[in-house]
Every structure is written in C-alpha cells, then in structure tokens.
C-alpha cells in the first residue's frame, strides 16, 4: 500500500450562491464519501481550506491578498488515503461530489525518500 493525496481544485461554494438545501445535499454526499473511505480503513486525514489566499511570488517576494472570487481556480481541500496504486485511487475518486460544478480531483502520490 502507498500513500496518496487527492487535491480538490475548482470553484468555492461561497462564490456560487448556493441555497441552504443545495449545501446540505452536497455536504451529505461528502459525508457518505468520507464514511465510505473510513469504513474501508483507508482514510488517513484531510482538511478543507478557507477561501483566503496570501500569495508571495518572485525574487522581490511580492505579496498579494486574494479571495476565491478573484481567481479562476482554488485548492479547496484535500484527503490523504492509502491505496494500492493510481488506478485504485481513481476508483475512489469517482464519488467526489463536485464534478458537476466543473471541479477537479488531482491525484498525487506521496513521495518516499530512501536512505
């Protein structure tokens, strides 16, 4: 088994003017997905991120403060899971609730450094 990170990229709920009813139904899908991974014993962790961004860039270390509304895409959160390979994670990522919003899942393997 290897460690993988699923990174969620796209639009934020706060910028989409969702109704309480829609928010609840999306959240329930997230619950179900999280519970499924937990039951399978593969979930190692995960976080949701706030829509505030402080970006530091270039040799002058230029600082810009942004919110999700000002950028095309934003990393909204991530899950850390255990799986056999990329294909297995791809299968798990099928349940990601926000594909219909145009949002994306990026699967990355956690690098192991040999001595």
């Amino acid at each position: 088994m290897k460690d993988f990170m699923m990174i969620f990229v796209g639009k934020e709920y706060v910028d989409l003017g969702m109704s309480p009813e829609e928010l609840q139904s999306r959240m329930e899908k997230w619950f179900a997905w999280g519970a499924k991974m937990e039951q399978a014993g593969i979930l190692k962790g995960g976080e949701a991120l706030t829509p505030q961004i402080r970006r530091i860039t270039g040799k002058d270390r230029t600082v810009t403060d942004l919110t999700s509304a000002e950028v095309k895409e934003i990393v909204g959160g991530f899950y850390l899971i255990k799986a056999k390979d990329f294909d297995a994670v791809q299968e798990i990522a099928k349940d990601f609730p926000d594909y219909d919003l145009g949002n994306t899942v990026e699967i990355r393997e956690i690098m192991i450094f040999d001595q």
Partner: protein, 413 residues
Amino acid sequence: MEPKLIDHLFRHHSGKMVSVLTRIFGLQHLDIIEDAVQDTFIKASLSWRKEQPEYPEAWLTKAAKNRVLDIFRTLKAQKNNSLHITQGTDAIAINELFLDAEIEDAQLRMIFTACHPKLDPRDRISFALKTVSGFSIKEIASALLTKEETIKKRLLRARKAIKSANLQFNIPQGKDLQERLDSALEVLYLVFNEGFHSNSKDQLIREDLCGEALRLCKLLLNHQQTQFPECYALFALMCFHSARLEAKTNVNNEVLDLKQQDRSLWHLPLIQLGNSMMYKAVETGDFSGYHYEAAIAAEHLKAKTFEDTNWNKILHWYNQLYKLQPMPTHLLTMAVIKVQTKDYKTAKKYLNQLQPCDLEQRAYLYYAAKADYFAETKNFNEALIQIDWALQTVSNTSEKAYLIKKKACLLKK
C-alpha cells in the same frame, strides 16, 4: 455510517435564523442578515465534511449566535446610525431569543411581514419562500415556473415596500390580527396550490411547496394568539389534498381526475390528521370558506369508489360555500355536479346564471361543462359547438388534450 441529517434541516434552519436575527437587528438590515446566515451554512458544509457534530441543530444555532457579533461589526463599519437593538442589547436577552418558543415567535413575525397588505400580492409568495422558508431564488423560480429575473424583481419590490412603509417586525394584535391572519392564510393556501396544481415535472418541488405550506400553517397553530378555527380548517384542507398528491398524476406526469385516480394510493395518515384537525376547526361553529372546502375534500376521500361519491352532501357544502363566497367557479362546479347526478333542470338553471366572461381565462371550463350538459341530454350538435368553443379558449396543453379526446367521443355519437 454517519447519521443522516434531518431532511431540509438547513433550509428550515435558515428561515429560523433569519427571523431571529431580524428580531434583533430589524427588517431594515435584512440583506446583511441573509448574507450572514448563508455564511453559516457554507461554513457548516465545509467543516462538517471532516466531522459531523453530535447535535447539528445546536451547532447551527450557536453559529447563528456568533453571527450576531459579526453583524454588529458590519453595521458599525458601515457607520450605520440607524442601528438600535429593539430587544435590549445585553447578551442574556439575545440568548433568550434563541430559545425554541422565541424562534417560533420570530418566524410568525416573519410570516406576518411577508403577508402584509402593503406588499404586492404577487410579491408575498416569493418573499415568504425566501425569508421564511429559506428557498433560493433559483428554487423559487423553478417552484413557481417563473424566470429567476422575475423573482429577483419581486423580492426587490417586497423589500422596498417593507422599507418605505417602515413595517414593524411584530405579530399584529386586536382588530388588526383578524385581517392580517386572513392575508397570511391566503398566502399559505396560494403556496400550497402552487405545489398542488403545478405542472412542474419535478414531483419533489411540488411536495416541497405543499410541505412548506403545512409547516407554516402548523406554526400558526402552535401559537396561542393565532389558533383560529380557520387556521385549523386550512390545515385540515391541506392535509386532505396532500393525501391525494401522489395519486394525482400518472408516470407520464399526466393529471388524473378523481374518477381515474388509484384510491389505494391515498395517504391514510394525512387523512386521519386532517380529520382530527377538522374536529378542532368546528368547535366554535364559526365556519370559513376553508371549512367548506375541507368538508368537500373530506367527502371525496370518504367514497371508496368514484361511483360511491355522495354528491348530495358535496352539493350541500358547495351551496354553503357559494353563500359565503359567491364566486362563479363555485356555481359552475355545482352545475357540473347536477349533471353528474342527472338533475338536468337545476344544472341548466345554474348554467344560465353564468356568462363565459365570468370565468375569465378559465372560460373553457364553462364551455366544457355546457358540452357535458348537452351530451347528457342527447343534444350532440349543441355539445359539439360548445366543445369547439372550449378548444378555442383553452391554453393549458394537458387540458387541451383532454378536450380533444372528449370531442372525438362526441363525434362517434
């Protein structure tokens, strides 16, 4: 498996919290309040992904309390001089406003605001669905089969009317109460009818609207000041109609009339609830239109088959209703029942009292009823003339299809 949340928890909680916060900050700050409440649900939807709280409702209420401070800060930052807390500023008083009974009280105030005569009747439903029921503009538009732009305009107009009339956020007292209650019940019944008679293909939206109307009516019944007989009667009426909601359409979303409905699909618990509400409604002997409408609906539900329908009783209730509300649609229904029971003389008497223009855009119902009358009395030529008139005036496509079928039957005679 994680426990599933209560259906519509967020939606209902939204209405509750907007009402409580409005009680604290006043109707003039509704925009800021709605944004703050929306923010709570976004936060919940993100943080609950990781862990669902043991008591979701308590979590949401606490979050809304925290919003009180946020709103204070926002208003201060805007240097808003009109800020004054209506209920006293100390934290204890604010805490008390979040108790269940006070939340219901605040929601009632919101219902009475939404149904205020100063608001345009068309704007009342949209405003009620938004602020009391927590529907989004998109959801209201699809529920009412209207464009989102139109709903936006209606909401804007409602808010303007509230501001310019400087409406107070309270439950009307004394003489005002009766008049304002009539308007509130009317809005609830309209919301219900939008759901019950909707052509929307989406069964869920129809159920949501009917469910909302029942829920809001229940709020009125929970409050001592608003437990009027007509509230019980309207609640009973909506129970009786709701019991038939599932049986009302077939799999192709075609409307089925009482004759075609599968009566085994009628929902018994709702009928029983309606019956017990009816007992409460008739305690004083003061009958409203809702009483008679409920009595008529109950009579239909009592019949095991369409042929078992007790038309005489139904006609009796229609007569009472017509005395109270002399509306041409009631008279037309009475004529239809008379044709049904083969009392053609009285049917003709009723029909002669009506003009097609009395029924406005529903004139086709008048022509269709006349066609039935002539067909039953074997005057087929006249029946065909009436059907053609009906076809010329009908706009609803499913009604039109129904009339075309009828015409085909007549041509065979």
